[in-house]
């Protein structure tokens, strides 16, 4: 079964309609820039100086008061949404793999953004940036995007969020909303990478996915643990006690991600692969408070 079938596209349309009432002003809020420009919405007046465009002189004020005041308008700019999609091999874990859900969520959110005339870009990363879907706008670009996502595969060695984001933020581009879709299993930690986004005035939003088997592994006895991300293996004896310790560590890790996001007022969505992508999107909407 294809990842993005017709059923998936129908769901995208539905989500797009629902999201117009929801995301606008919250998640993908229609952002207004601080620049004054050739917008249609009046902002304020200023004194006329030589060289100003006479077309923006407020003739009514001049007629009434004799002051030459120049009308200023707020320029509306489209929002830039960057999807940082984790393509490390750990994302290929699970049945169905986390990567499938990650791509579906990315496609859905991108579609919503495109439908809202925002610009989107998708950056696939693992230990570094692996692939790019260049900044684009317009609903018509959804099919190339889906094609791009469908061609992505889990790859790389170890997740390196710091290096990947560093690589991303060095680009000359406008800041905007950056949605990180990942399991955040970075041996070096996820904080530094997200800190960079914050410091560069991106607005990060976390979508952290995990498989139920990762949260509650059914492993007991003498086993060889094989890390699919870096091919490392380790012979261990898993006891009930160590399993309990694992669960505790995993839960602590999830909690730390949530705490981090709450501390810096970042959006955070944590989900397992048991949930469908549209359900996840709706959950995000509920979190945003638009749908009950």
């Amino acid at each position: 079964m294809a990842l993005f079938d017709s059923d998936f596209l129908k769901k995208l349309e539905y989500l797009s309609i629902v999201s117009r009432r929801v995301f606008r002003g919250s998640l993908l809020a229609q952002r207004r820039t601080l620049q004054f420009g050739s917008g249609i919405e009046f902002a304020d007046h200023r004194e006329y100086t030589a060289g100003d465009d006479l077309r923006y002189l407020d003739w009514n004020v001049y007629a009434r008061h004799g002051d030459l005041l120049l009308k200023r308008f707020q320029e509306e700019e489209d929002l830039h949404v960057y999807f940082l999609l984790d393509c490390s091999r750990s994302m290929g874990f699970g049945n169905p793999p986390k990567f499938d859900l990650a791509r579906q969520v990315t496609a859905a959110l991108a579609y919503i953004a495109l439908a809202d005339l925002d610009r989107i870009a998708v950056i696939a990363f693992a230990d570094r940036v692996l692939a790019d879907f260049q900044l684009t706008r317009g609903k018509a670009r959804i099919l190339p995007l889906l094609n791009f996502l469908e061609n992505l595969e889990p790859q790389g060695v170890d997740t390196n969020l710091t290096a990947s984001i560093q690589q991303f933020v060095r680009r000359r581009q406008r800041t905007g909303l950056s949605i990180v879709v990942s399991d955040l299993f970075d041996p070096a930690g996820y904080q530094r990478g997200l800190d960079q986004l914050r410091h560069r005035r991106y607005e990060p939003h976390m979508i952290q996915l995990h498989d139920p088997q990762e949260a509650r592994p059914a492993v007991l006895g003498d086993v060889e643990l094989y890390d699919i991300e870096n091919d490392a293996s380790r012979k261990v004896t898993v006891t009930e006690k160590s399993l309990r310790a694992y669960r505790r560590l995993f839960d602590d890790y999830q909690q730390s991600v949530a705490t981090y996001c709450r501390t810096y007022s970042l959006g955070c969505t944590q989900a397992t692969t048991e949930i469908a992508f549209d359900e996840l999107i709706l959950r995000m909407m509920r979190t945003a408070g638009a749908v009950t």
Partner: protein, 657 residues
């Protein structure tokens, strides 16, 4: 220490693959994980391959090797030499005679003996052997020499109580034969020692007597017989004997019933050790079961009588009468049947002597009948037919000859010189002093038995017995002489009527338990003996006589014909097929051919008082087996299981931690 199967040590070679597999380790199950971040935190804290872990695995390896070696060693069946040299051979003699049914020890003496026997069996060491001999009625080896505990326990439990006499001495002799020349052999007797010569057993070094029971009081019927009167056709005599086998005076009531109808009730007061005996005369034409019962037995108070039971506990004697088997006795009274007699009129004395017999239904005719009925006794006086009829006939002073004799001259004053005193026809009869003026000279045909013979050699009284025909001939003229005035005449007549009626057994003796009886049987009959409890035993076929017994149970024993139930065949003929072609035809028992009354009737068995000298005879503890009750391999296997359990704990610790 020696090894029975040293070749089994080769199994120790299995240690090598265990060690190899342990070193190489079996390939572990590979579990893919998305990240090892968390696992590393867990296992890095515990430092994998720490010294303890290595030691734990090494300890596990050592345990596995030890487990294998223990099993291998067990397979070699090691043993100590002294085990063989000191192996014991024990013959357990269990008294299951009637006295062991006494309830002075709860529940019975026999059960208490079995309990001790169980302890003895449990105390057997490996390589010890034991045989069990039951000493009731007939000594019987219920279990041959074996060391298998379960077999011995089953055999011991299977010893049933009997009503038979004690045969401990014979059982000990049998046990000694089983001991042969065993070095550490002995005969352990579990008995109440209530038999003659029990005190001498303690002198025998080979015999160890363990007494069970107390000096329990008992009152019992020690003899009960009945017989038909020799003179009175419907009379009978009962001989009964009751013994007070206790050290105290006793009072009781003896009820005698015939076919559940009361015959007599006799209150008895018996002094200690007294045997009361009485013959009672009664009359009844009908026979049947005569039952004597002792009831309301009360022994005089003897203060606090305490006794020591088999297990050493002290208890107060609860029941005044400890044995129930001798409180009832049974005897069989032969039935007297009415005889129909047709008398040819002639002599008044002859007529009257027949009329006074209560069992006779007399019909007097003037001349011999032309047709004869079966089952009727014809008495001919003077007038006789030319051919004697089939059936029974009594001929007195015949006037003519018949097919059975030829008539000769008249004998004047015949003198009786020879009389067959062994014949039942002449029981209590003497004719040599009777005045006989005249008699007929008869010459009997072959097959006649002369009962009374005159000086001339002519028979005065003779019988002819042929199949389906019994004829008795008295040649004396009753109208002359004094025979009819003598008491011999009615006695002769009564004997003759009894002979014709086939009443040979005036006494149906009640047998004592343990007795054996013999009965004549037809070779073609298939007979079955049924015990009072309802158990049936087929009797041997194809013999003229068959022995029944020994009777080991008090009550009524019956011998019946086994008849095949033809009902299924009849159903088959009617169109309904029988179930299954090979189905066995059910058999039923016919009416009893013969019955035997069996009573305890033994003063020895009724006397439950253990001789004072033997009350604490023998050690009352079980044979001490020491710590090595079982073979060494058993302990090795047990140790192996212990190691397996420890290894399991270690394994579980690895999992559960």
């Amino acid at each position: 220490m020696s090894l029975a199967f040293p070749l089994a040590l080769l199994w120790a070679g299995l240690t090598v693959p265990i060690v190899i597999f342990y070193i190489l380790k079996i390939r572990l199950r590979r579990v893919p994980v998305s990240t090892t971040i968390f696992w590393q935190q867990i296992f890095d804290e515990k430092r994998p391959r720490s010294l303890w872990q290595i030691l734990r695995h090494l300890l596990s390896l050592l345990m596995q090797i030890a487990w294998l070696l223990l099993l291998v060693f067990a397979l070699t069946e090691p043993f100590f030499t002294w085990e063989i040299l000191q192996a014991r051979r024990v013959i357990l003699v269990v008294d299951n005679s009637a006295s062991m049914r006494a309830i002075d020890v709860s529940p019975t003496r026999l059960e208490a003996a079995k309990k001790i026997g169980q302890q003895l069996i449990a105390g057997l060491r490996f390589r010890d052997e034991m045989a069990i001999v039951a000493a009731g009625v007939q000594p019987q080896v219920v279990c041959g020499l074996t060391g298998h505990e379960r077999t011995l326990q089953t055999a011991l439990a299977g010893i049933d109580p009997t009503d038979g006499p004690t045969r401990v001495t014979a059982a000990i002799d049998l046990g000694k034969r089983l001991l042969t020349d065993a070095k550490h052999g002995r005969v352990v007797v579990l008995s109440d020692a209530c038999f003659p010569g029990s005190d001498k057993l303690t002198e025998d070094k080979l015999v160890e007597l363990r007494t069970i029971g107390t000096r329990a009081a008992n009152v019992g019927i020690t003899n009960f017989q009945v017989r038909r009167s020799l003179l009175d056709p419907i009379g009978y005599e009962i001989l009964t004997e009751v013994t007070n086998a206790s050290d105290r005076p006793a009072e009781c009531r003896l009820d005698i019933d015939l076919n559940d109808a009361p015959v007599d009730v006799i209150p008895l007061s018996l002094t200690p050790g007294q045997t009361w005996s009485k013959a009672i005369e009664k009359t009844s034409a009908s026979g049947g079961r005569l039952i004597a019962k002792l009831s309301q037995i009360a022994l005089a108070a003897a203060g606090e009588e305490e006794s020591k039971t088999a297990d050493g506990k002290r208890s107060t004697a609860a029941a005044p009468d400890a044995l129930a088997a001798d409180n009832i006795a049974i005897a069989l009274l032969p039935k007297r049947t009415e005889q129909r007699i047709v008398l040819t009129e002639g002599n008044l004395f002859l007529r009257k002597v027949l009329e006074v017999n209560p069992l006779v239904k007399l019909e007097v005719v003037t001349k011999p009948p032309e047709q004869y009925e079966a089952g009727v006794l014809y008495v001919f006086h003077k007038q006789v037919p030319q051919a004697m009829p089939l059936g029974n006939s009594l001929v007195v002073d015949p006037a003519g000859g018949t097919d059975l004799w030829k008539l000769g001259e008249i004998l004047e004053n015949p003198i009786v010189t020879k009389q067959d005193s062994d014949s039942p026809l002449l029981r209590h009869v003497r004719l040599d002093n009777v005045l006989l003026p005249e008699a007929k000279q008869l010459t009997p045909t072959d097959g006649a038995t002369s009962l009374v013979t005159s000086l001339s050699g002519d028979p005065l009284y003779f019988s002819v017995e042929r199949p389906g025909q019994k004829v008795l001939v008295l040649t004396v003229n009753l109208d002359q002489g004094d025979l009819t005035f003598r008491t011999a005449f009615p006695i002769m007549t009564t004997n003759a009527l009894a002979w014709f009626a086939g009443q040979a057994g005036e006494l149906r003796e009640s047998l004592a338990a343990g007795a054996v009886s013999e009965i004549p049987i037809s070779a073609s009959d298939t007979l079955v003996c049924r015990s009072p409890a309802g158990k049936t035993h087929p009797l041997p076929t194809g013999q003229a006589k068959v022995a029944i017994g020994p009777f080991d149970e008090c009550g009524l024993w019956q011998v019946s014909k086994e008849v095949t139930d033809a009902t299924p065949q009849r159903k088959a003929q009617n169109g309904t097929p029988p179930r299954g072609a090979g189905a066995s035809v059910p058999t039923t028992l016919d009416e009893p051919i013969i019955e035997f009354a069996c009573n305890l009737a033994s003063k020895t068995e009724s006397d439950l008082r253990i001789p004072a000298a033997l009350q604490s005879a023998g050690p009352q503890t079980a044979m001490v087996a020491g710590w090595l009750v079982r073979p060494i391999w058993f302990y090795l296997v047990a140790a192996a299981w212990l190691l397996a359990a420890m290894e399991w704990v270690l394994y579980q610790r690895r999992w559960i931690s």
